[in-house]
Symmetry: C2
Subunit: 176 residues, 2 copies
């Protein structure tokens, strides 16, 4: 954040009234840069979004050698677990909108991680298949996720809290 | 999700082979539509994302009369709590990227909810101010969020679990 830098510079200009509101003395300028979150810090949705962004950032860092996003990883996992399912089924299960999903599949296919095959029964439908390369990348990704990403989360929260968190999130996703 | 509905309809048409691929007998068709999530259901990031999407959907529904997204609501809350701060400070605090934030402000400003004023000290910087209309809309939004959205979440989780969830999410957002 560049906020503190800017504010520190501003605080030396006593003539600027906009900074006065928290009535901080000059040496208090550093603290005055932190904005009041107010009710925001009590909103579950806001905290969920911030936590989710942090977790996705860490995921990207941990899986960086394989260049996989969380969503791409989900697709590979699902294809591996559910061979022969079609595009619509995978997209619906993950809650990904069709245009986004098609773009994502284009990317995975161009990297040789999965292939789309026209269903022999329904020519309008595409069956998705993980390639050998896709399976190998998935195996490596799973290892990175488990040993780096999830391990760090476990360390931060502790296994009991982690389990409680997962169960509450699942409840919200399924019942809210 | 429309998956199960479609499949239920399909299972009555024995002649449609597209649903046959998992080699299920006709009466097994309904179960065969649910995909195996496998490791996905154990991943915190995946559950967080799904829960967050659900909560945002509900937020949009609850605040529909005011046409505010969760992010717009956050901005109004923050402007109200921190008058006279500039664009960069607000965007950084909320973790919103600059181009997205500028577009969002355009929207809020065109609806008369906030105004951008060029800072008298730094002509490159814009101070953000909530208008009276913005304050009134925020007050109504807060009420809808508290009495509809957050109240339903509280009911689903119970106050103790809700507090535990909030504290874990904040911990992840701040320390992970």
């Amino acid at each position: 954040m560049t906020v503190s830098k800017t504010a520190a510079a501003d605080s030396t200009r006593a003539s600027r009234p906009a900074r006065k509101e928290p009535a901080e003395p000059a040496e208090g300028a550093a603290e005055s840069t932190a904005l009041q979150l107010g009710e925001l810090s009590e909103l579950l949705g806001y905290s969920l979004k911030r936590a989710q962004l942090k977790i996705f950032e860490d995921f990207l860092r941990c899986v960086a050698p394989l260049q996989l996003t969380p969503a791409q990883f989900s697709v590979l996992l699902l294809l591996d677990k559910n061979p022969g399912r079609n595009q619509t089924e995978i997209a619906n299960t993950l809650g990904i909108l069709r245009p986004n999903f098609v773009a994502m599949l284009d990317g995975l296919e161009s990297r040789g991680l999965c292939t789309r095959m026209r269903s022999t029964n329904d020519r309008r439908s595409h069956i998705l298949v993980l390639t050998d390369k896709g399976r190998a990348v998935l195996a490596r990704a799973k290892k990175l996720v488990a040993t780096k990403h999830e391990a760090r989360l476990n360390e931060l929260l502790g296994p009991d809290n982690r389990a409680a968190l997962l169960s509450m999130l699942t409840k919200i996703a399924q019942e809210f």
